[in-house]
Symmetry: C2
């Protein structure tokens, strides 16, 4: 039996309405009354009941966050960005992770119904049908790194294609002609886009793609490791490995190290994401920087806009730019001596 607004009202000799006004700054209350109420409330350790409040106001002050998986640094950065922004808006983040199957996403979406004021969905494999079938029309939605770009949803993603293209061009510029790619999986949006960027750069340079050096991965270190092992076994080895993300690049690095292949002298290795640890591996990783936590923050900001003004919320797609970060693993640092980028 926690203290209720009624207890406070009785004890302070006022009505519940007045107490409510004090706690919500709605309507006028005489200063004297106000302090008395606040005093009583503190003494009684009163905290408004959230459920009752949201039943009445139809606001939960909670945003749902659907994540594909919680592995690695990437997601923890995203959550951080979201959570910080949410806190600034006096809201909480209800997270639900490990959803890779479409059915799981659907279930998670339904489970969020009524618990949240809005939803940030990061499901690289989600489709519009699943979304419309499981999200009530009224809850604002922001999509993060999903394939749906112009279907009338507010969405944000990283410039995967542009970043991958830029990285590939960078390698080409430094003389590489046989550049391998370890993908993020055929069904993953980010992975597919990065592959497309890689291809675009290659074809722009008039280099035909060799399927033998495009190996399938899944964004884990072990996939990167195995991918590199497979590439090393090739009769005609590539001179550079472009991993679909940093985790795989680090896995590749370890495989090369174990095989005695020097990086970058014998093989250049580059990644994507610029996770915090990237600059601390050996050799420091050349990669494509994505401002991960600001990606989350940006999604949250747009979500709150939509929550506050559902009517004129823009449903457009937004692309967060990427930036090439040249460190030592590509062997090209001397060409662009970006010294600030050296370890600390």
């Amino acid at each position: 039996m926690p203290t209720t607004i009624r207890d406070v009202a009785r004890e302070a000799g006022v009505s519940v309405a007045t107490v409510s006004r004090v706690f919500n700054d709605s309507g006028p209350v005489r200063q004297e009354t106000r302090t008395r109420i606040l005093e009583v409330a503190k003494r009684l350790r009163f905290t408004p009941n959230t459920a009752a409040r949201s039943l009445s106001t139809r606001r939960t002050h909670t945003v749902g966050v659907l994540l594909p998986d919680l592995y690695g640094e990437f997601f923890s950065e995203v959550i951080r960005g979201i959570d910080q922004t949410a806190q600034q808006h006096g809201c909480h983040a209800l997270v639900s992770s490990s959803h890779n199957e479409l059915a799981e996403v659907a279930a998670a979406l339904r489970a969020m119904r009524g618990r949240v004021d809005g939803l940030i969905v990061m499901a690289p494999e989600v489709d519009a049908a699943t979304l419309t079938a499981n999200v009530p029309d009224r809850v604002p939605l922001v999509l993060l790194n999903t394939p749906l770009c112009d279907d009338g949803y507010a969405s944000i993603d990283v410039d995967n294609r542009g970043g991958a293209e830029q990285m590939t061009r960078h390698l080409l510029r430094h003389g590489h002609r046989r550049i391998a790619h370890i993908t993020g999986g055929a069904r993953n949006h980010d992975g597919r886009e990065r592959l497309l960027g890689y291809r675009a750069a290659l074809s722009a340079a008039g280099i035909p793609e060799d399927p033998a050096i495009v190996v399938a991965g899944d964004f884990t270190e072990s996939a990167g490791h195995d991918g590199a092992v497979a590439l090393l076994a090739l009769a005609e080895r590539p001179t550079a490995i472009f991993a679909g993300n940093d985790s795989m690049a680090i896995g590749a690095l370890s495989a090369l190290q174990a095989a005695g292949v020097r990086v970058p002298e014998e093989m250049a290795v580059v990644g994507f994401d610029d996770i915090p640890i990237a600059q601390y591996v050996t050799p420091p990783l050349t990669t494509v920087r994505v401002a991960i936590s600001s990606l989350g923050a940006r999604a949250a900001v747009r979500l709150f806009q939509a929550i506050q003004a559902p009517a004129n919320a823009e449903r457009h797609h937004e692309t967060v730019p990427t930036e090439l970060v040249i460190r030592r693993s590509c062997g090209a640092q001397r060409f662009s001596p970006n010294l600030k980028e050296a370890v600390r």
Copy 2:
């Protein structure tokens, strides 16, 4: 105006009570009636309102998770463990991160009031007073890696001291006499415990601690990097660096690499945690394994026990064991050829 239980009742020609019974499997309902109700509910896309439900039942089906910060892989693993367990219990995780200051913890704690059925608090610097002042007596609580061990709270932590002691002994056994330690910060519980373990092993071996080679860190890669740089500048260098966690060990590795100091030949480097990436750095990192995600899962399991049976919930302290993982960075692998531990 989303569909309510009343709409469904009217449309199905029954009372709200019956609809409620169907949705909660409480009380008997004729099969025929049940199907009809379910049909109508589906057609009307009815979802029970969570707020109303929890106002009535006093259950939120949500557990709060308070985290000190969301950096690095460690926390994302913890969340994953918690979330998975929560999902099994039909619950959600409300996470709140970035709380390092005591005042922030207090605020976050208060903000969770009434929104959660229980709380998992991971605040390495929290004290009993803050807790009791801000958590209603009734909500079950599980403490994760906090200094409070026997104050009548249910708590779990890692065997920091034992693990650190074991690691230090391992280094001693392999001939090291001058072992440096990069700490996790004086105010951090885990960091302090690990330091204590380090000291215990040294003193058991009759080696006096040299304050010059115990440098302060904060669990970030850059602290590890800077710590290693400082150690290298010493007139009398250590022969081994025991970093308080893997992130710092990786930072140290990068500093040594940059300074041209070979690991493990000239300097052994070891860490703590065994984050997923540890086996993929160069050289693969010798460390102390903590089953991180099961740590989170374990906390969640105990929390649900307490939620289900608040009366006889055990308030004891639980220590999760650690395990020495010997890889190459300590230079001792030949002594215990734990080959399965080689990369993949």
